[in-house]
Symmetry: C2
DNA sequence: CATAATTTTGACCATATGGTTAAACTAATT
DNA sequence: AATTAGTTTAACCATATGGTCAAAATTATG
């Protein structure tokens, strides 16, 4: 391994450690020492690679934002039908959330808690262009296939139904699933079908 | 004002200050000094009334949990019909969230972040008994009025659609509302009708 | 009014934490 | 091999923070 390769390798190691700690504990709860330990290096070296806590945090936060937000944008823009898009979003997001259940809460918590950081970031990474889907929806309304409805209400509902259960898992697992993780997994799998069906059955004019 | 009254008064003042700071910044981000300042007292006095940060935090957290969770329980238990219950939950929760938009995120964040605190609390405060509604739903299914459906999916969906928009407000406001707060308020008001209608139209067998 | 009990305060303490520095070590370059 | 540039470390620093304490101020009690 050349020096440069090793250099990049350690940077990746640091980012992995930082991601783990920041996402789980948030900016305020995260400790540079813990990140260093997790990465198997000492604190000074951590500061050598990322000048300070804020810079390191921002790297993780932007990465998280980039991995979660634009994916919706892509799907909304593609050529599939309205309901296919809802199915895709549900499927893609629930799968993503099963792998990274804490990321959305992390994003939302930091967004509320440290807005200073983000005024500019959101301008670039936080945008989606819903024009295309809105036209698709309007067309289906005009054709009498679905009832008139505010696109934003539908959109926010789909996203909410996908993401929120992961945030509320600690509560829901006790309340509705007797702390049975397997039942929870089944619930999530069924949810991939339930959400699109809920929307479809509700909007379709029959 | 007698001494006892003043005593209680200052305790309330402290709790108000603590609520504000903890809910906004979370346990890790909150500073005892800031709470003292907010309450207009000094730090030593704060420790005189609430021995330490954890005790003070717990008072606020339990209060938040008690004000948010049992309210669903009540509605689910009362004598109104299934759809009336969904309407009530939506109405009550969105109103409550308009007044306390940060509370649910606060609860969920701390629940993930400091589970040590909560193992026992949840046993008492985190329970709801969905038996009654489940029977109501089952009855309507048996009578052929609504299609067969997992109660938990419906319940989680309603809660998600109510709460999540408040958590995601910083993102949504920019993405869908051009940072227009008035438009956001209208959106929330319309949501009180949209959510029950979505469920109703979807479940009703026509 | 005098004494006891309670409440409030400023000064203080121990520790945790983000960050720095100078020296040691390693690897590339000549 | 010698020099240089880049990497890693241990020791340190300044500050923030939760928490304490003894004295002062206030309030209740005999």
């Amino acid at each position: 391994m050349t020096a440069k390769e090793k250099d990049q390798q350690i940077e990746v190691t640091i980012l992995n450690a930082a991601r783990k700690v920041f996402v789980q504990k948030g900016y305020d709860g995260a400790r540079m020492q813990e990140i260093a330990d997790e990465a198997g290096i000492n604190k000074a070296l951590l500061h050598y690679y990322f000048r300070n806590k804020e810079k390191l945090f921002l790297a993780i936060f932007v990465e998280a934002l980039e991995s979660f937000i634009p994916k919706i944008g892509e799907i909304l823009q593609d050529n599939s039908s309205l309901f296919e898009k809802i199915e895709k979003i549900t499927e893609v997001y629930i799968n993503m959330l099963k792998l990274n259940p804490y990321v959305p809460m992390f994003i939302l918590h930091e967004l509320q808690n440290h807005p200073e950081f983000f005024i500019d970031i959101l301008q670039n990474k936080g945008g989606i262009r819903p024009m295309k889907v809105m036209e698709q929806l309007q067309k289906e309304v005009n054709e009498g296939k679905i009832r008139p409805v505010d696109f934003r209400q539908v959109f926010v509902s789909v996203i909410s139904m996908c993401i929120f259960p992961f945030a509320a898992k600690p509560l829901l697992l006790g309340m509705l699933f007797n702390n049975d993780e397997a039942a929870w997994d089944i619930f999530l799998e069924e949810r991939k079908k339930f959400i699109p069906q809920l929307i479809k059955e509700s909007l379709k004019v029959k």
